[in-house]
């Protein structure tokens, strides 16, 4: 139960980072934090159930997260080039 609590706390921290930090990079990091919380969870459960599926999934998550970050950083860089800021308030042109 302890691990699950830690995971939930970590996940929540990720959420809070995503919602309250004001730059895109921080938000991306929040997402990573959430994913890592899940990884922890998976590894814990994998050990609990004595099978490898959870660990395999967490490895996959690493890979996918890396891909996501790759694309994400590219987009963020492009945005930064154009506007010179990463503040999330800048990017509210589309609304309504």
């Amino acid at each position: 139960m302890f691990t699950i609590s830690v995971v939930i706390v970590l996940f929540f921290l990720g959420i809070i980072t995503f919602i309250f930090r004001r730059t895109l990079l921080h938000m991306l990091m929040g997402v990573e934090l959430m994913l890592n919380a899940v990884n922890l969870n998976l590894i814990y459960f994998s050990r609990l159930h004595q099978n490898l599926e959870g660990q395999i999934l967490s490895l996959m998550i690493f890979v996918v997260a890396a891909c996501e970050v790759a694309v994400g950083i590219a987009i963020i860089v492009r945005l930064f080039k154009r506007t010179g800021t990463l503040g999330v308030e800048t990017y509210t042109e589309e609304r309504g």
Partner: protein, 649 residues
């Protein structure tokens, strides 16, 4: 189809109407004439006269010894329990009406040829007139209520068209419209009565209805009377009784022959005819009978009183017609249907004569209708004068003119019948006095004394052409002798048979007749003498007041008191406008249109649309563009999902 001659009687005027109507429309469309008024008039007169002749043949030859003959061209409607054949039936009652109508119509058609001469739409005029005769014949001969109703509304239509004949004059068109709508109010009652009867009787054939009510009445007393009153409402509309009489005086806007034919002799008597037709029903509906009696009496007095002070020659005659119709209803209400129909017939003669006479006068005066500007016409137009005088004597009730017999019998029946009432007799007598007075006032002011019109008018004064005077003479003659076929036994001492009574009595007393109380012959003679005295008194007062050759008539604007009230016709029209028409219009415009339709219903529809747009706009503010807010929504959604899960799980 046996008795197809009846069909010919009905169809002939329709053919005339159709031919003339087509030609009239074509003429108007091409702005030139295919055939002129002469041919149209002859065609119209010819069809109606032929109808009259065939009617005579049918009634006196084919029908002799028979109770009735009928002819059914086709089945009109057959729906569920309702089966209506387009059947024309001639029995003794409708025979009297048939002859009166076709006869008087023929005469008036003839008169019209002279009267309408020179009018640009004379062809149209004859078409309408013929159509009217057709509709009237449907009304008279229809053996079931719906067929009767076709004619009933048909004559209303023709009346509408003919009153508004000179439609370019807004007021005349208005008068036509008024006539139609007021008639519709009556028809509303007629329809309701018809429905009530159908719901109970299961048939609308008149003989079945009478049979039902007299022999197997399964309706309660209350509803029987309601049925009677409903039908009578129809009659008040058509026959211009209180409270629906208002259209008839206005109807004088139409050409004078129309006033004579429709608004005096035939159409307006349809109500009386209808009540007589349904005597089986009315005899078992005493309350309804009483209503008929009282409404008739009050109308007779009321309109006679208005007629006392009117200055328009046709208006006087119009109110007189209303009053005389009241007399007929008095008779019907007293249970003396035969007498009602008798007065109907005599009235047709003398009132038609009076109207045609007035038409002749107006013709001569170049359209002037106000008797204040007439006077002394008897030397210019003797034929008109004499016939007018004869008819006046008839209507005033001088023996041995036609009106005397019928009116006297009415008063006697009201006095003596079990359905009658002494108070009503008093009212009737008073109305008779007024009648004599205003008629002689009319005669004195029109034909005696000095001419009060303009020089130019005086220059043009002339006797009317033959086509107009011959009908006057015919009708004048009938006003004299028309009553002789119905001389009461008491008066003729049994020497002459009471032809009219003998002819009609069997048809109208099938379901028994009103009980006449026991009075001595002396009473009857006394009352008869009293009637004569009333007529004389009316003449006397009128002579005293109006025979001065240099009489100066007061300007109506200076009238005061009761006379002012009379001159303004008791302000009934104004009351109707103020309390019925205007509230209806304002209700429609202000409440129904502007509030209920626009504000409430459309408001609700448009409002909910606009309101939801507002809500949607508010919703769209959530879409702020800030992705952290979006993340927050997601978390919020998660929270909701968990709350829901916890609540339910």
């Amino acid at each position: 189809m046996e008795n197809s001659l009846i069909l010919v009687i009905v169809i002939l005027p329709l053919i005339g109407a159709a031919l003339n109507g087509t030609v009239a429309a074509t003429n108007a469309f091409r702005k030139k004439e295919i055939w002129g008024e002469k041919f149209a008039g002859i065609l119209a007169f010819g069809t109606v006269a032929t109808s009259f002749i065939i009617s005579l043949y049918v009634v006196f030859v084919k029908m002799s010894g028979l109770e009735s003959i009928a002819c059914t061209p086709y089945e009109w409607l057959s729906v569920g329990g309702l089966q209506i054949n387009l059947t024309f039936i001639i029995d003794h009652l409708s025979a009297v009406m048939l002859l009166t109508v076709t006869g008087v119509s023929s005469v008036i058609h003839l008169y019209s040829i002279g009267y309408i001469h020179g009018d640009e739409s004379s062809v149209r005029y004859f078409s309408y007139l013929n159509l009217f005769v057709f509709a009237m014949l449907l009304l008279i001969l229809g053996d079931s209520m719906p067929v009767m109703f076709i004619g009933w509304e048909g004559v209303g239509l023709c009346s509408y068209l003919l009153i508004g004949f000179w439609y370019k004059d807004e007021e005349k068109a208005m008068a036509g419209k008024k006539a139609f709508i007021v008639n519709r109010i009556g028809d509303f009652g007629f329809l309701l009565g018809m429905f009530l009867i159908f719901a109970n009787v299961g048939s609308l054939t008149i003989s079945n209805v009478n049979e039902f009510f007299y022999h197997h009445n399964s309706m309660t007393f209350f509803w029987t009377n309601v049925a009677g009153i409903c039908l009578f409402i129809g009659a008040t509309g058509k026959s211009a009784q209180i409270p629906l009489y208002v259209w008839l005086p206005d109807a004088m806007a139409g050409p004078t022959p129309v006033s004579a034919l429709i608004h005096a002799a035939t159409m307006v008597t349809a109500g009386v005819y209808m009540v007589a037709r349904f005597h089986g029903l009315f005899l078992v509906a005493p309350v309804a009978m009483n209503v008929v009696l009282w409404v008739g009496a009050l109308t007779a007095l009321f309109s006679a009183s208005i007629a006392l002070v009117q200055n328009d020659i046709k208006k006087v005659l119009a109110y007189s017609t209303v009053s005389q119709l009241g007399f007929m209803f008095m008779a019907a209400g007293a249970g003396a249907f035969v007498i009602a129909v008798f007065h109907l017939m005599t009235h047709a003669f003398f009132k038609a004569c009076l109207f045609l006479g007035s038409g002749s006068v107006i013709h001569a005066m170049g359209g002037e209708q106000d008797i204040r500007y007439m006077g002394g016409l008897k030397k210019y137009m003797p034929a008109t004068y004499i016939t007018f005088l004869l008819a006046t004597l008839a209507i005033a009730g001088f023996p041995p003119f036609a009106g005397f017999f019928s009116k006297d019998e009415i008063l006697w029946n009201v006095f003596a019948s079990a359905h009658g009432s002494k108070i009503v007799w008093v009212i009737g007598a008073l109305a008779a006095l007024f009648t004599a007075f205003y008629m002689f006032r009319l005669v004195y002011l029109t034909f005696f004394g000095n001419f009060r019109g303009t020089r130019e008018q005086e220059h043009h004064l002339h006797e009317s052409p033959k086509t107009m005077t011959v009908p006057l003479m015919i009708l004048g003659g009938l006003s004299v002798i028309g009553g002789w076929i119905g001389i009461p036994k008491l008066l003729s001492l049994g020497i002459f048979p009471n032809l009219f009574h003998d002819f009609l009595e069997p048809a109208l007393s099938k379901y028994g007749h009103a009980h006449i109380g026991h009075y001595s012959h002396a009473t009857e003679y006394g009352l008869m003498a009293f009637s004569v005295a009333i007529a004389l008194a009316g003449w006397f007062f009128a002579r005293k007041k109006f025979s001065d050759p240099k009489i100066k008539l007061e300007d109506p604007r200076n009238y005061t008191g009761f006379v002012k009230l009379l001159w303004n016709k008791y302000f009934i029209d104004e009351i109707y406008i103020k309390f019925i028409i205007e509230p209806l219009k304002s209700l429609s415009t202000n409440i129904f249109l502007n509030i209920s339709d626009k504000k409430i219903i459309d408001g609700a529809a448009n409002g909910s649309a606009a309101g939801w747009r507002k809500v949607a706009t508010i919703f769209s503010y959530f879409q702020s563009g800030n992705m952290q807010a979006y993340g927050f929504y997601m978390v919020f959604g998660v929270a909701i999902a968990f709350i829901l899960a916890l609540f339910i799980f």
